[in-house]
């Protein structure tokens, strides 16, 4: 049990995919323009991560080593397609705002990376813990970044207007340039925090 908790907590901070491992960057920069988008992307990615880790951990002995990467990618692409159609059918507005970045979950190095590094070598229950931890770690950074960008860029958070009309929004924040800079500052700040702790 202790092992499971450790597996889970790993993804949240110590090996946080975005801040520490620096993978899964594309969606991090592109869909964090509003908090709703950041949260939706985080959850969609987590779903694909958890489902693929479960499947791959279950059938890991059946996949010959030489074709493991193409097999993983095929499985991941299948779950992503499922997620895409599911969102389009039941959450069309979110599907429209995330548009091209849902299919890009297929090449999110986080998902493929965890199959390689963890699911292919560990039992199912541990893979689930790892996937949930990593998924949450990914999601919280996305949400934090998008709250930052939405607040400064539009004065709102999750669509709720927080800053009144006195605030002149920094449009740059919701544009690509603002994304790069915000993430750079965020990681810089995190570096300072971890160097003080360790």
């Amino acid at each position: 049990m202790k092992q499971l908790i450790a597996d889970f907590k790993n993804g949240l901070w110590k090996e946080n995919p975005i801040i520490v491992l620096v993978i899964g960057m594309c969606p991090t920069l592109a869909v964090t323009n509003t908090a709703v988008n950041g949260l939706a992307m985080g959850l969609a990615t987590s779903f694909v991560l958890i489902s693929s880790e479960i499947v791959i951990s279950l059938i890991k002995k059946l996949i010959p080593n030489d074709v493991r990467i193409p097999s993983y990618i095929l499985i991941i692409a299948t779950f992503v397609t499922f997620t895409d159609y599911f969102l389009k059918a039941f959450f069309p507005d979110i599907a429209a705002s995330l548009s091209l970045f849902i299919p890009l979950i297929v090449v999110n190095c986080l998902i493929l990376g965890r199959q390689e590094a963890f699911a292919s070598k560990n039992p199912v229950h541990r893979s689930i813990a790892d996937a949930v931890g990593m998924g949450l770690g990914f999601t919280w950074v996305l949400v934090a970044l998008s709250i930052f960008r939405e607040l400064l860029g539009m004065g709102s958070v999750f669509g709720i207007q927080l800053l009144g009309s006195w605030y002149q929004p920094m449009i740059i924040m919701i544009l690509p340039a603002g994304a790069f800079i915000s993430l750079g500052i965020l990681i810089g700040v995190m570096n300072v925090i971890s160097s003080r702790e360790g």
């Binding site: 323009n33 059946l62 996949i63 010959p64 030489d66 074709v67 193409p70 097999s71 095929l74 499985i75 692409a77 299948t78 397609t81 499922f82 159609y85 599911f86 389009k88 059918a89 039941f90 069309p92 429209a96 860029g153 539009m154 929004p169 449009i171 919701i174 544009l175």
Partner: protein, 184 residues
Amino acid sequence: MNKNIGKLVMTLTIIGIISALSLAFVYEWTTPYIEKHAAKARESGIFEVVPEAESYEEVTKNGIKFYEGYKSGQRVGVALIEEGPGFQGMIKLMVGANPANGEIYGIKILEHEETPGLGANITTDSYKSNFEGKPFGEYDVIKRETSDPYQVEAIAGATISSEKVTRIVEDAVDKIQNAYGGGN
């Protein structure tokens, strides 16, 4: 070696088949919902741009789909979906017009990827009101307030988006004119 390749190919093929089959199933399951959403969006668009209409009929003329709005059996207007390049990506909008008096009722932006806070303001009532009551024709986009029916006031800081939308509206109006007459 031969046996090995066989196993590799087999594994991928099996995964491929399971994947394709399950996705075909997901597709069948979700497609009705997706189409329902598209139809709903289209419908609310039609009633928005042809305000008098109480029902509508889809008609094809010159290979183009028009939506004729009816009230008490009388045709009160025509709507058309048109798309074209915006400042960023494509803009899809709906134009509602009355060929009887050659005037535009109004427009509704259906899809766009314009810059939030700038070009995205093409969806605001204040920009859309530019097109309400406009006679069929071509319009100039200018950077100040105007009451000239052949002019469109650009959104501050988003001249290009404003122009792109105007072009698309002109194209739509052309098509309506060709199919239904109206205007000069």
